[in-house]
């Protein structure tokens, strides 16, 4: 006995099958859009919850991005100040300056003579008269060294080798506070990563649950379509499209929430800028960020609905 010898498999020719496949995708897409249109209240609520949930990591991300931009200015300013021996003549000091400038790790140097230092101090400090009473200039020649790299390890090595020079009395690298700042930023960065993961899971659950309810509501329809020969993929498709729509719309709403939030704080921030005479610019989502946000929320929607469909659709069988 040859199994399947007689039975028609009712599969169409390949070209027809591909166009039928595309056609059903189109129909599923239209169908899922119609569902949204027919039940706007449910859709709006689900999408709003997703939007609000995603706006939190989105907002934190922007906050971090701004902090990063500010701290980036500091990063480039990890200079080393060399205070030279007081016995060094200006000629010797200038020779040393040239020597240091040739070191590989050094980007540039700036020489400040003792006299210049004193003059600057006189002008800036307002102690002009008291300084005049000094018999000798207490300030040393100074070389400001600009390292090539901002990398702390390399800079520290450079600092060590400079410190070892006999002409150098004190080599000073004031980066400790910078390191603290970087550590704090790193903590914030990881916290944002954790929050993002948690909220992504929340979105998965929200979408999964919405799709699960959707599946329950269409229980009868699923049974009937299975009985008349629908494949699992056929039944799955409209639900997956539904998840994609939820994710996409939720992503757009979260973007709107973050943008509006930043608009709201941009006023006082500009005033703060004026008060501090800083030229800090508020950074919002770039087009690149926007695309990433929308893509990941859409993928979350697809994943959430996929989980729900995989868990619940197989359990529905005609009895």
């Amino acid at each position: 006995m040859v199994a399947g010898s007689n039975i028609r498999h009712k599969k169409l020719a390949t070209s027809n099958r591909i166009s039928a496949y595309l056609l059903h995708h189109l129909q599923s897409l239209r169908f899922s859009l119609r569902k949204i249109y027919e039940a706007p209240a449910t859709t709006i609520m689900t999408v709003a919850v997703i939007g609000i949930t995603l706006s939190l990591p989105g907002g934190f991300y922007l906050f971090l991005k701004n902090i990063d931009a500010i701290s980036g200015d500091f990063r480039s300013s990890s200079q080393i100040s060399l205070f030279l021996d007081l016995d060094l003549s200006e000629k010797q000091a200038r020779a040393l300056d040239k020597k240091i400038a040739k070191i590989e790790l050094v980007d540039s140097t700036r020489f400040i003579s003792r006299d210049k230092s004193l003059e600057d101090f006189r002008q800036d400090s307002g102690f002009g008269k008291s300084i005049d009473t000094l018999s000798t200039n207490p300030l040393p020649h100074t070389i400001i060294v600009e390292p090539v790299e901002a990398d702390t390890f390399a800079v520290r090595n450079l600092l060590k080798s400079l410190q070892a020079m006999p002409e150098v009395k004190i080599a000073k690298l004031d980066t400790e506070w910078l390191e603290r700042l970087y550590t704090i930023i790193e903590i914030a960065r990881r916290s944002v990563a954790i929050i993002t993961i948690l909220f992504a899971c929340a979105v998965l659950l929200i979408i999964g649950n919405t799709i699960r309810l959707d599946i329950q509501n269409r229980y009868q329809e699923i049974i009937v379509t299975k009985l008349i020969g629908a494949t699992d993929a056929f039944i799955r498709r409209p639900f997956l499209y539904g998840g994609v729509w939820y994710g996409l719309l939720g992503g757009i709403i979260s973007w709107l929430i973050v943008e509006i939030g930043y608009l709201a704080i941009s006023g006082p921030l500009e005033r703060l800028n004026l008060l501090y005479k800083s030229d800090m610019n508020l950074i919002t989502f770039s087009f690149h960020d926007f695309i990433i946000l929308i893509t990941s929320s859409t993928l979350l929607g697809l994943a959430g609905s996929w989980i729900a469909v995989a868990r619940h659709l197989n359990q529905i069988e005609p009895t």
Binding site: A3, I7, A20, Q27, I223, I228, T319
Partner: protein, 232 residues
């Protein structure tokens, strides 16, 4: 078309819906399954429709073994069958046309083809003028006819009907049965479960009678008994 070899279906808890049933329905035949409620009529149909699997014995549809059918293949096998339910199982959120067109959608027909075949099926059951109506606005007999149109729209080789006239008055029941006879006359194999004995008597068709899961009357030719290797 359909062969049962010593098919037994036992449900959880030990209840035996079918006991050792053997039968054979040839292509192009039409037969009735009769018996009291709980006799096993529905279970027999469900095994053919791949809704239930036999506990023991072997069920074949066109020589394909239904016992060992993989989940992936089930939809494609079901496309050869048209099923009519007592409660017609129409989807109330869409029009009569869309209900009848559903099997064609599933099988990926083109829209023009779908429209043509759907209208032809509706015409056959006399409901072409109701294609835009919602099923809820139709009478019980009309709803059942929509169910029949949906079952035949994709031209299946086999029609299964489970108590198709259960909720209908005698006049409508006769009409519905006549539709099945008409389909049988154009070559479709038809198997109808019904306890409407008066109506069955009017139609001169072979009968299978079940009583508590056992076959007590079989007008059909006996199933070949040599198939003793049919244990699952």
């Amino acid at each position: 078309m359909i062969e049962f070899h010593n098919v037994t279906k036992r449900f959880e808890g030990g209840y035996e819906a079918l006991s050792n049933v053997s039968l054979k329905l040839d292509e192009g035949q039409m037969a009735f399954i009769t018996g009291h409620s709980g006799a096993g009529k529905s279970t027999l149909l469900k095994i053919i429709a791949l809704i239930e699997k036999p506990t023991r014995g072997q069920a074949l549809l066109n020589r394909v073994n239904l016992n060992t059918m993989s989940r992936r293949r089930i939809p494609y096998i079901r496309r050869n069958i048209g099923i009519i339910f007592q409660d017609h199982q129409l989807l109330f959120d869409r029009s009569v046309f869309d209900n009848v067109a559903l099997p064609l959608h599933i099988q990926g027909y083109r829209p023009q083809e779908i429209a043509k075949r759907t209208r032809a099926a509706l015409d056959k059951v006399g409901l072409l003028h109701k294609e835009k109506s919602l099923p809820i606005t139709l009478s019980g007999g009309e709803q059942q006819r929509v169910g029949i149109a949906r079952a035949v729209v994709h031209k299946p080789m086999l029609l299964l009907a489970d108590e198709p006239t259960g909720n209908l008055d005698p006049e409508l029941s006769r009409e519905i049965m006549q539709i099945f006879v008409d389909f049988n006359q154009v070559g479709v194999t038809v198997l109808v479960a019904s306890h409407d004995l008066d109506l069955i008597d009017e139609l001169d068709k072979p009968r299978i009678t079940l009583n508590r899961g056992k076959l007590i009357l079989n007008d059909l030719e006996d199933a070949p008994q040599e198939a003793d290797g049919g244990w699952q």
